[in-house]
Symmetry: C6
Subunit: 271 residues, 6 copies
């Protein structure tokens, strides 16, 4: 309940990253993030779901010692959900910061996940925060909030044909592209995260790679996250074939033909 | 009225399962559910209405000793309906958890029924709760709620062509497929639930199976629940033919031709 | 004003049926309703407007000694209109039951008229109340309301091509089909309700039957209710031909050709 | 300001008709209205704008000694606009009747003008008030309001191709058709209402009749109300030709060709 | 801040016209307005933007000694924006008149600009105020406001093909058509309003007339208001060619070809 | 927190421009702005995103000693977001000005960015403020606010085919067109803003000019702001080729072919 009172001692206490998150770099992304942060340039991470963007941001927040305030964007998100609102209590109205104003006011890393799901006009509030002004007009509070010197803005989405940010939003970000990790990285992640033996991990990655070769949709849909869950079930004692049925086959699709195709691959590898 | 005051002694008292629900397993589903729960992996149950998903979840909640908080999803459901809201009383505003935050805070099994009816963006709030973070950002409460160690998330829906979850939501779940129970199981359920004699039960199941063979729509629409109700009316003394008219024929469809087809089958079996 | 205070002595006082409503059975519908009520199975009544469904429900409520809470469904009806809401007064917020929760809590017959006009997702709240659980989750009240042992749910609508309930809703009901009453019943109703002489009643029913033979729309639109009103105007002293013009011809349609056709029939019978 | 306090002495004081409204019957409409009122049958008045429906209702309210509560329907009208709502003041919430519940509670004639403009589902609230039950469920007030014995419901609209009431609404009303008054009546109205000499009135009606013969749209659009206004301007000293330009030509249409056609007629009559 | 308290001494103080507005009549419009006002007939002014309708209304309000309450209509305007609403303060709720009820209650000229932008159903509230009843039902206030004897309603819009008022709204107004002022009037206005020398004014009007001859769109778009602004910039010392670029060319259009065409005319006149 | 209390000493304190913003004039725009301001004519700035409009306005506010209140327009912006609203506190309701009324009341430069994103009807509130009346009707406050003598209105947008302001809005503004700065200006800006050496700046501008020649979309999308960010990353020590990948290539587009084309140009210049 103490979190509700928003203790003035550390309003970001809930959002501090408690332990170092496991992250396996695949290139120079750590240094690039640090260079952008040195200039406080807003960052845009592009890539498919489950490829590690969120984990990377957690890793960078831990590395930089920044609290991490995460917002999952959606079409129904209104400006007030980002900026805050007035609450009524016995002493009248009280202003409560939203996640964006909380992070900007006290100096956190604010991570807006799936930015492209938000309505374009809801993102207009980011503009003065994402250029050299670094201010956030809280119109409903009658306040022009100047961002804390440590504040950093990071956003991400999965690029899809026919959907794009508005140019005025997009041009305010420096962008980095992410892809699914290469095979050896997938194996290493499975060993670390699911606790599989390397041979088990390699067989599971092999199944995933063959499934991803089935068609383009499969490539995007069979994510690292699903592999880790299949691996966890195996490591927890479930029969490998059953673990694949639950964590991969049924989780992958409801269409009978797609279910059959993936099940056939699983049957071949785990007879 | 005491339920309204949300007694701090046991905020989940209303949601405890009072007695062991009748459930007749058809495979390894109980062990699979337990394996997923051991890892706290979110579960997705797929299958047609009336095939027993809800009863299975009740059975598992009872078996695991977990309170069961059920939410029937619908298109109009807003994030606040899941997460909670502020209420005004004499002492100012008071936060009231929604079913999802209640279950996550105190350690219940939260069951979201008919998940696919919810607007995709309303389900975005599930994402941080359904991956390794197991947290629920209550933005309107300024709180980042860490899920209770016993908290488990289960969702279900009836797969339909042309409707699917968004990949970012779907890939967070381990999935199990359910189907209508086989004939002997149907008979056993009718005997147990409706109190029919075995011969009565077999004749009723026979009628249902012939009706389901009429067309694909019939297969999905003539559920176990309807058979149980027809059986209950018979066991309560209603003439079998009339019970079929009310619980099966008229309940099944408003289209004259479909009504006629099912009525002809009923006339043949209950002359 | 006392009704506003919701006297705790009998919260259903307003909804008790004061006198026995006139109802003329046309088959076994009374016994069938009683059998379904004995098992507390939710009932669906199907039939055209004005054929007597509402009167039948009033009759059954009186027969069973149940208060009758009626709700006319419409597209704009939100869950809160059925379930209740929080009101603010000097002592803070106070929960006020909606018609469905009022009936479920205190044991009334709840009758949802024109169910098909409601948005499908608004009806999702009925699901846990209409299966074996017989509970109503009042999410905004943080309460899981167990239905009173005497509570009974009845719904009705006029079947129309291209509109149907969702299967998950529909399969929770036992259904009875109603039609316009046969000619002798129509005559008897006119004599009882409008106070016409039998010959007057027969002539009026004869006009209605010829008009219903004009086309399919006419069959549905010329309801018993309109005949009773024409009869009442005649019994009150209005010239028969004028009473038909007001209560049948002009009330039936705005289209000149339809108005002409019905007027010609009326002219022939009441020259 | 006293009206705001809703003096308990006579809550309908504002809505009493102060003086006898001028109305010139064209047939038996007065007796027919009285017959329907004797039985308290809800009335539907059909006819084009400006043909005298509103004046007729005012006349009947005065004749019957009933206060007249008028509501102009529109698409944005919600149930709360008819039924009432809760207001907050220092002592908590206070229920304020809407026009429909005010009229039903205290016994007025409630007149819903342009009923067809309202959304069909908003009219569902009229159903229990417009059949033999004569009750109004005020769900937000937790009250089932029984209509006052003197309460009468009257509605009106201008029939238009492709728009109709729902059958369940329509069949609850007894209907009367209105048309533009015949020429002698128009002249008499002009003499009485505008204060014109009979010859002036006849010339103006002559212009209107020729204009109405131009096309079907003109017939509906050139209403009695516009003629009265042209007459008033003439009687007030404005040149007849200019009065026609303002009250008829420019008021009739913005389309140059239609404006020209009507102006040519006016030029011919008032050279 | 005192305006907020709505001083009872003169609730219309803010809306009084302080000084005689400059207006140059082009015909009998002043007398026609006065004749309509003598009968309190609602007035509709038709004409393109910037042709002087608003100034004419200001002039008439000053001439008649009436306060002027102006409302710019828009699609989002709700009935409450015209009629008023309840405000909450320490003593409970307090009714605050909207511009229409303020003007009707205390006797002002209420001017609804761009009436056609309002949703048709929002204008339904004008009907009882714009016919012989001259009342305004304030449903949310439970009040039937009788208009002050001096109250006058004036509306305006720019006629556009395919858009029209609903007949029931339109026929309640007496209408006057306005056009752009003739060339000598334009010159006189420029001399008076912008402070140009007559020769300068004539050259500027010459440019405008040539531009208006370019196409139909230009005729409507190059308004008197734009000419006055160009003239003001010139009189303030800006080079004539530059003033035309800012106040006419760039203000007129964003389309390169239209910009080029107007710029060519300006280059020719101001080489 | 002091900003929330809206200190009466200087309600515009947050919006004062602290230091002279860097701005490099490309023509007479500074004098033209000053001439328009001398007459308080509302100004419209047209041009692509990132070409310097916002910086120019900041520069002019600093030059004229005016506080600068900036509003980023969006489709969801309601009139209340510009005009203000009522807040509830212990002493009742309190009016809080919106950015437009704040600027108009106390004499600031109000800058509405991306005006064309706002719904046309939301801009209707600007009309009386943007003509000779210079008043702002705050209907919800019952106040007619006369603009402060120093108040100035400036708006901007990026012209796009098929989108335009409504004539009645547009004709109230004097307009200035902006374009991307010429090459020498771009180089000078890069040297000043990013801290690059002139040779580095010239190479980067060369890359941008070649990219803008690729197609029309590229011309608009590759803004000065993006170049400055690439330059800042280089000046901060990032390898030039990598800085281009992040700040130009990935930030520019998600389409593989466009990404390839720009990357090829970058590879050629930074081998």
């Amino acid at each position: 309940m103490s979190a509700v009172l928003q203790a003035p001692a550390d309003p970001l206490a809930d959002w501090r990253v408690a332990a170092e998150p496991y992250y396996r770099p695949v290139g120079d992304e750590v240094a690039q993030f640090q260079d952008a942060y040195a200039l406080r340039l807003p960052l845009l991470l592009k890539g498919p779901p489950g490829c590690g963007k969120t984990r990377f941001v957690e890793h960078m927040a831990w590395t930089l010692g920044l609290p991490l305030v995460t917002v999952a964007c959606h079409e129904d998100m209104a400006a007030g959900d980002l900026l805050g609102r007035w609450l009524i209590d016995a002493d009248g109205t009280r202003w409560q910061d939203g996640p964006l104003s909380l992070a900007a006011r006290h100096g956190a890393l604010c991570y807006l996940d799936e930015l492209i799901e938000a309505r374009p006009d809801a993102l207009t509030v980011l503009h003065p925060l994402a250029d050299t002004r670094r201010v956030l007009p809280l119109e409903r509070n009658g306040e022009l909030l100047a961002a804390h010197p440590r504040f950093q803005l990071v956003v991400s989405y999965n690029p899809q044909p026919g959907r794009d940010l508005r140019p005025a939003t997009r041009q305010r970000f420096v962008a980095m592209a992410f892809e699914a990790p290469p095979v050896p990285a997938q194996v290493a992640i499975l060993v670390h995260e699911a606790g599989l033996e390397p041979e088990q991990a390699m067989r599971l990655v092999g199944l995933a790679e063959r499934a991803r070769a089935l068609d383009e949709g499969a490539q995007a849909a069979l994510s690292m996250r699903m592999l880790v869950r299949a691996g966890q079930l195996m490591a927890g004692g479930m029969q490998a074939r059953v673990a694949c049925e639950l964590a991969l086959v049924q989780a992958w699709s409801d269409q009978p033909e797609r279910v059959q195709a993936l099940r056939a691959l699983a049957d071949a590898l785990y007879p």
